[in-house]
């Protein structure tokens, strides 16, 4: 479809991190707080340029730790200011206490994560263990697997998070280096059109919480066990589950506004007639499409089921998949959960929904790309071949990378 003059977009070549910085800039954020950490650092460097060169009218608090980053954003968001940060790995873990403070205060803060491995030993490469280990703290968690998606997601994130029905903070997650430091074209729409899409910042702050001396409220006092603490917790979960509707609505509105369709909480690729499906998320899931294409060329009925969101969790979409006649699924984590049933957090969560189908489905959990370990298209094809083996032979593979029922792709055994 030809774009009108007004709809023309400015296409710039930029890194994933710069796409995040542009996303924050174009979202007209009021307050930024940040602390340097690899591989996120160039996000906050770029934002410093924007602010100091007066291309972005925001207050930038360059704090002395990530704990202070998120504490400062709690303060700024409580005044009704649109607030943003970016972090990675250790920094995200250092924020952990304040992440709960944000969600329990129901503040619509948006933060981008360039995910990296957790130390020791030091590791700065792609690995989602950082975000996965704080997945239950009440933030919406969305993976962006292209540079364009990083930029677009931030605009949508504020739209979703600031909706009074949602009032929850929002993480946009992408992988360190493989996305943060590679460069691709990103299309930036005219700011006026973005402004029309963005939510209007309420003049008197958020409806539930507003630091206004004319209407004083004490926030966060001690609540006794028989009072409403439990009920407040339920409301966070309830809003998170119900946010699925707002997510869908926002994705649709974004598509109407800018002509890019992100589908929903999941992205299905060649799933319709597939018998073998790989469930995955993040940057490597985008690459899985190449593996699917190659295997399809050879006549294999394989597909990719990409999780764009893990909080809220796409229960309904997964249950529909389980009831679609598929025989074998592989579920891949690029992160670890030591000692849990599968060793990977998302594979365990996906399997927890299997009791919603009467169909027999074989599941092979997999862990790949830990600490930036390379996963090639051929490696992905190798995993699909294991899944096809299960379908054809009705037995699980027994090679050395399969440990405790999970494939640890590329595992060096006998160390």
């Amino acid at each position: 479809m030809m774009k009108t003059e007004q709809e023309k977009e400015n296409i710039l070549i930029m890194s994933g991190n710069y796409a995040a910085a542009w996303g924050a800039k174009c979202s007209n954020v009021n307050v930024i707080s940040a602390y340097p950490i690899t591989p996120q650092t160039t996000v906050v460097e770029k934002l410093s340029d924007f602010v100091d060169n007066k291309e972005l009218d925001a207050k930038y608090i360059r704090v002395e730790s990530e704990h202070s980053v998120m504490a400062a954003l709690v303060g700024s968001s409580m005044t009704g200011a649109r607030s943003f940060s970016a972090t990675s790995g250790q920094g995200l873990l250092y924020m952990a206490e304040m992440l709960h403070w944000v969600s329990s205060s129901r503040l619509p803060i948006v933060t981008t994560i360039a995910s990296r491995g957790i130390a020791p030993p030091w590791n700065i490469w792609a690995d989602y263990t950082d975000i996965l280990s704080i997945r239950d703290c009440g933030w919406i968690i969305q993976f962006a697997s292209t540079h364009q998606e990083i930029f677009d997601s931030i605009l949508m994130a504020y739209k979703i998070a600031e909706n009074p029905e949602v009032s929850l903070p929002y993480f946009v997650v992408y992988s360190g280096f493989s996305q943060s430091h590679t460069s691709k074209p990103v299309s930036i729409p005219e700011q006026q059109r973005i402004n029309k899409f963005l939510p209007i910042l309420p003049e008197d702050g958020w409806g539930h919480l507003n630091l206004n001396p004319d209407k004083p409220v004490t926030f966060g006092n001690l609540v006794m066990p028989e009072q409403e603490y439990l009920d407040f917790r339920f409301m966070i979960h309830d809003s998170m589950v119900k946010s699925k509707k707002n997510i869908h609505d926002t994705i649709n509105l974004f598509n109407q506004s800018f002509g890019r369709d992100y589908g929903g909480l999941v992205e299905k690729y060649m799933c319709d007639d597939a018998e073998v499906i790989l469930i995955s998320y993040g940057g490597l899931a985008e690459q899985s499409k190449d593996a699917v294409d190659k295997l399809r060329d050879q006549g294999n009925k394989v597909g990719l089921f990409k999780l764009r969101y893990i909080r809220p969790f796409p229960n309904e979409e997964l249950i529909e998949l389980f009831n679609s006649g598929i025989k074998v699924i592989g579920v891949v984590d690029q992160g670890t959960a030591f000692g849990n049933p599968t060793g990977g957090p998302i594979s365990t969560e996906v399997m927890s929904l299997l009791n919603h189908t009467k169909n027999r489905i074989d599941v092979l959990p997999c862990i790949w790309g830990i600490g930036g370990r390379n996963v090639s298209v051929d490696d992905q094809i190798g995993l699909f071949e294991k899944l096809l083996y299960i379908k054809n032979n009705n037995e699980y593979p027994t090679d050395e990378t399969c440990q405790h029922g999970t494939v640890w792709m590329g595992l060096k055994t006998g160390i």
């Binding site: 307050v31 400062a72 709690v74 409580m78 200011a81 630091l211 004083p216 926030f219 966060g220």
Partner: protein, 306 residues
Amino acid sequence: MITTKELLKIESVKPELFLAGSSSCAGCPSVLALRWALKALGKKTVVVSPACCANVYIGLWPKASPAVPYINMAFAAGASAAAGVVAGYESLGKKDINVLTWAGDGGTVDIGIQALSGAIERNTNFIYACYDNEGYMNTGTQRSSSTPKYTVTTTTPTGKHMHKKDISQIVAAHDIPYVATCLATDPVDVYNTFMEAKAIHGPKFIHILTPCAPGWRFDVANSIDMGAMAVKSGFFILWKQVNGRLEIKKKSLRYMDKQKRIPVGDYLKGQGRFSKLTKEQIDDMQNWVDKRCEKISARAEYEANL
């Protein structure tokens, strides 16, 4: 600077911003200090309070004594969250709102010192007040780095081994526009100090010695005297540093003369937490007090002549 007489006059004139019925321990001087701090700062004030006694004494949900916006905050985040509030208001063009961090000594001297140092270094326009009751009183009297030497607490059952950290001097070393010490048990001092701080742009730090009857183990009826004795013995020195120039407050000035000071033992022996002090230990404390008084007097004199 107002006098006691004037203070009594304004008590009913200035709006009451910390309402009666709080859930503090009886006679808590920290509540007294907060009440007078808020009278000085006025209605257009927001309070950020990291984990400390205040989280409890402001009232249990849904009751609350503060009549200004009041945020309960994570332990380490008193200064950083306040910095965020300041930035938020600035970004939205909302002016003339005082942002006050109201923290205990644990939240200031221990877990919150990094965020405090950062907020000051960044020249945040706020007031950070530390009501120093010399220990973790909210959790039942554990030692903090602001607990004096030899104090018996639940985590120093045979007495603490080191002196209290001099937080105001640490803060003063940041070249902060305003730092002052004051006494929670002296409303005139509290009021005047906060009035002075309010008029200054940039970070302001106020260190408030706050006698704590349950934690220090003395009769709550003696709280006011206890505060006065801390000053008369030279154990706690009232001073301020405005734009880099240190000055000893009038109320402490005469006690910089050793002859006029009461022995520190007289101050300590009224408190159950020091009941097992030996003569040598009291001498050690006296020596510590004398050296501190000498040092700060010399500095004040030097700076007065600059």
